[in-house]
Amino acid sequence: MRFGIVVFPGSNCDYDTLHVLKYVVKQEAYFLWHKDHDLKNADCVILPGGFSYGDYLRSGAIARFSPLMQEVKEFALCGGIVLGICNGFQVLLELGLLPGAMLRNKNLKFLCQNVHLRIENTDTPFTNKGKPGQVLNIPIAHFDGNYYIDGPNLDKIKKNNQILLRYSSADGLLTEKDNFNGSLDCIAGLVNENKNVLGMMPHPERASETLLGSRDGHIIFDSIIDYIKNDR
């Protein structure tokens, strides 16, 4: 399995993602330079976390113009598996591969902490290893993670089961308190209509080793691997 990790200027979870995929999940993984026009035959493209272009102007707003984004867009539109984590999610929104937008966290502060996530749909390339309603423990670290989408489109993504992960309590309940950043409908991660593109604010690469406190991030990576294997 080949994972291509896009490096933008300002990406800072690129090495973390590479480490997990290469040494923990033990797959082939490599960097893709944002100025190139080559996905190097990746089976899955990952847009990692960080502050692409310093998050200046607006998170992800400049990175969407990186040359490689043309290829990423085509790849996604042809059904290729794309995962955007944190800043990568923000870039996917700016690219128009996912609907909606991010606002500042409701407390107007950067938030770095462990959160609980409830899996809402297991019938996707990203969650097929999970159980419906399963609660994952994965950390967040962002300033702009307060997801927003307008009413009609919210109905649409709900109807189409595009909401994949929701912030919840440890028991899987949706509460105001556990929705730390104030996201609409507690949305922490969602897929596109075809379900081959996932954007999620929490960092699965930070939750893939026992030493770091949680291995729940494996569900995401293992699901992708399983899906691509069976798809071939």
Binding site: P9, G10, N12, C13, Y15, D16, H19, V20, Y23, K35, G49, G50, F51, Y53, G54, D55, Y56, N107, L108, K109, F110, L111, C112, Q113, P139, A141, F143, H203, E205, R206, E209, L211, L212, G213
Partner: protein
């Protein structure tokens, strides 16, 4: 012409000016004077502190680089080295908290990656005035967001530190920033300008008027344009620094540079003169080639600018194109501005004319050194007689008051604004005795802690210094780490006052003594004098940063209780010591000593035992007893982490109850272990001659403390938790 008022405005004395004219055998021009004044400033020259800092032990078998470079370096095996340093950014953080703190982080990060190391963690020691004063809250909020804004963006986790509050910091907050990096042992780079005719590259942000030596520049009498001068605090651009970090590490990895130094304090002046002086060479640069952000900058302004995110590099002629290509890949300016010469002079040209031509040796090595008068203050710090401290009526109430003191309460409000997990090495979350970072692809972890109780140092500078080292090492022992090396940031008042100099001298002596006892070298740091406003100095505040190593990832220890039914033991002894404690300061409003006694031999035995017990997997938790005393320590063992296990304690000491609960006697560690390990541990402790007592059991939902069988405290953990957790955030509107 240079007249007396210009000399004075540059902070130079008449004698120092005379020395300059003697050294260069003529009158300097204004730009040259500016260069001397910066490099001979206290900040750059250490002229008042040098004689005392010599007392530090600085060598050891693992030391690769001691004081004098951008940062200290210690060998940790596996072909790797740790590069670390602490620095202050106090004054800028008070003037403009966000940018002051942010550029503090930016500066220390550059010190680390300049040497070829990838920064893997930052820590901060912060001191503010009481949060009951709105201005102090504003400063704290700005400083914390500044650290977050810079560190989060560049992707270096801020994993820990310390925060104290005291009146003395109201007009003089302290922001000390520590950074740690990892380098390959054979890929370390130094500040050198080698190889005559080799090109000198300027890399990074363009130069602007920010941070120019303020007082002098605000004056119009130099005949300069009357255009508005920028404020004296620099503005940080973490994105630019991230590019600089990646690009520098890439040219280093590819062996494309010979020498490199960041342009921090004193900017271009410091980097050119130091690099040349370190190599016995000279440097010639053309100021017109320097990328500039603003028009009409004079050579004086360009040489003295402290614009951020800039580097000076010397490369081999034949490799310079390749190096430039790497910088271009990262969208950075990399311009050849001059070359290395054999003149041993710094020569600066502008518009074809030579505007500076001075020997670098005079600038770097000939600054006068002062052995300033040092004598104890009169009157000395008061000594508190414990007979004057009334016994509290209700210990539970006092306990709850102490738990929620901002300095002792949970710091989540701060650290959740910091990305403390990026780089996926953070093995122990903030809030423990020390921060622990695993080293990828090895079985090792590094542990780091910052420590320094300025109230102790105020009460007795020497023991304050000693205790800071002892406690930092104790913190490391509690997570299972053996100390490797020390960096220190010495924050003091005006050294021209004899009592301040005395505090400094004594504190340094105390630190040196402890470092010798623990056999750990001091590899560098920073001295920050003149921390006084309106003539009122801060408490003398040495902050110690100690780095240690844990051999074996399965030997990382944490403070919280792990399971009900475990036995709780206290290593060390409880003594009736109340001086300089949080308890007498906060509850009884008494400011005085003496600080707790410290016996370094005993301290070492306690720490060694703790480390041995961890390494033999005998114990399940370890936590240092420090500010707030035994009661606070017990509470933290119950409250930190997810477990939230209560405890049932009975103390047999026949001393004052308040001293027993809240006294800050040194050399104590609270541990818990499984019943079946008890005998083995007891025999080990006896063998190692460490006094200990079995004080209770974990379990239940209350913190229950008895003295001689009589119940003193019995409170549900949940109640304590709420107070401890919400205290700090309660001061701020946005939680």
């Amino acid at each position: 012409m240079i007249d007396d008022s210009i000399i004075k405005e540059h902070g130079l004395t008449q004698e120092e000016y005379k020395r300059i004219t003697d050294l260069i055998k003529r009158e300097p021009n204004l730009t040259e004077l500016g260069i001397f004044s910066l490099m001979w400033s206290e900040h750059c020259s250490y002229k008042s502190s040098k004689v005392h800092l010599k007392k530090y032990p600085t060598s050891g078998k693992n030391v690769i680089q001691g004081p004098g470079e951008n940062a200290g370096i210690i060998d940790i095996g596996n072909g790797l080295a740790v590069v670390f340093k602490i620095e202050s950014h106090n004054h800028p953080s008070f003037i403009e908290p966000y940018q002051g703190a942010a550029t503090g982080v930016g500066g220390i990060l550059r010190d680390i990656f300049t040497m070829g190391a990838r920064p893997i963690a930052s820590l901060d020691s912060l001191r503010f005035g009481p949060l009951s004063v709105p201005k102090n809250k504003t400063v704290m909020e700005g400083v914390v967001s500044g650290i977050a804004g810079y560190g989060n963006s560049i992707g270096v986790p801020t994993v820990g530190g310390e925060t104290y509050f005291d009146e003395c910091y109201s007009l003089n907050p302290l922001v000390n920033v520590f950074c740690l990096g990892i380098a390959k042992k054979d890929k370390i780079f130094y500040s050198r300008a080698e190889g005559i005719r080799n090109p000198v590259l300027y890399v990074g942000s363009k130069t602007g008027r920010d941070g120019i030596h303020g007082a002098t520049m605000a004056s119009a009498e130099f005949g300069e344009d009357l255009e508005q001068k920028r404020p004296n605090v620099q503005v940080g651009d973490p994105f630019k620094e991230k590019l600089l970090l990646e690009a520098c590490l890439e040219v280093m990895e590819k062996n494309l540079v010979l020498g490199i130094q960041d342009m921090g304090a004193a900017g271009l002046t410091c980097s050119t003169t130091e690099m040349a002086a370190n190599s016995g060479t000279g440097i010639e640069i053309d100021i017109d080639l320097i990328p500039q952000r603003e028009q009409g900058m004079t050579p004086y302004e360009i040489m003295l600018s402290e614009s951020q995110e800039r580097m000076l590099i010397v490369a081999q002629k034949e490799k310079v194109k390749q190096a430039q290509a790497v910088f271009a890949k990262w969208d950075l300016d990399a311009v050849i501005i001059g070359h290395v010469t054999d003149t041993q002079n710094l020569k600066v040209k502008s518009g074809g004319k030579t505007v500076v031509d001075i020997p670098v040796g005079a600038v770097i090595n000939q600054c006068p050194v002062y052995n300033r008068e040092a004598k104890p203050p009169a009157p000395t710090t008061p000594v508190i007689d414990s007979n004057d401290i009334p016994f509290p009526e209700n210990y539970e109430q006092i306990f709850l008051q102490i738990i929620k003191l901002p300095g002792l309460a949970d710091k989540e409000w701060i650290f959740r604004q910091y990305d403390h997990m990026v780089q996926t090495n953070t093995s122990v979350l903030p809030g423990a005795d020390a921060s622990v970072l695993r080293i990828k692809n090895t079985d090792k972890a590094l542990a780091v802690t910052l420590d320094g109780n300025s109230f102790y140092t105020y009460a007795n500078p020497r023991s304050g210094g000693t205790i800071a080292v002892a406690e930092a090492c104790r913190n490391l022992a509690c997570v299972g780490a053996t100390p490797l090396g020390v960096t220190n940031c010495l924050n003091f008042g005006n050294p021209e006052k004899s009592e301040i100099m005395w505090q400094f001298k004594e504190a340094v002596q105390g630190i040196a003594q402890a470092c010798r006892a623990f056999q750990i070298p001091v590899t560098g740091g920073n001295v920050s004098f003149y921390n006084e406003t309106e003539g009122i100095p801060i408490y003398p505040t040495p902050v110690l940063g100690v780095v240690g190593v844990i051999d074996g990832l399965d030997k990382i220890m944490t403070p919280e209780f792990k399971a009900p039914g475990d036995t709780i033991l206290l290593l060390g002894e409880n003594k009736e010591e109340l001086g300089a404690s949080e308890y007498i300061k906060q509850i009884h409003s008494k400011k005085g000593g003496p600080p707790p006694e410290i016996d370094l031999r005993k301290e070492k035995r306690v720490q060694s035992l703790c480390l041995e017990a961890i390494s033999k997997k005998m114990i399940k938790s370890a936590h240092d007893v420090s500010e707030g005393g035994l009661a606070q320590c017990l509470a933290e063992c119950c409250l930190i982490g997810k477990n939230k296990i209560g405890c049932h304690i009975n103390l047999e000491d026949k001393i004052r109850t308040d001293a027993l609960l809240f006294g800050e006697t040194q050399s104590r560690i609270l541990i818990s272990l499984e019943e079946k390990q008890k005998d083995a541990f007891e025999s080990l402790a006896r063998n190692r001659k460490v006094p200990y007592s079995i004080i209770g059991k974990t379990g239940g939902e209350n913190i229950l403390i008895k003295q001689l069988g009589e119940k003193i405290i019995d409170i549900p953990i949940q109640k304590v938790y709420m107070l401890w957790k919400s205290s700090l955030s309660g001061f701020f509107k946005v939680q």
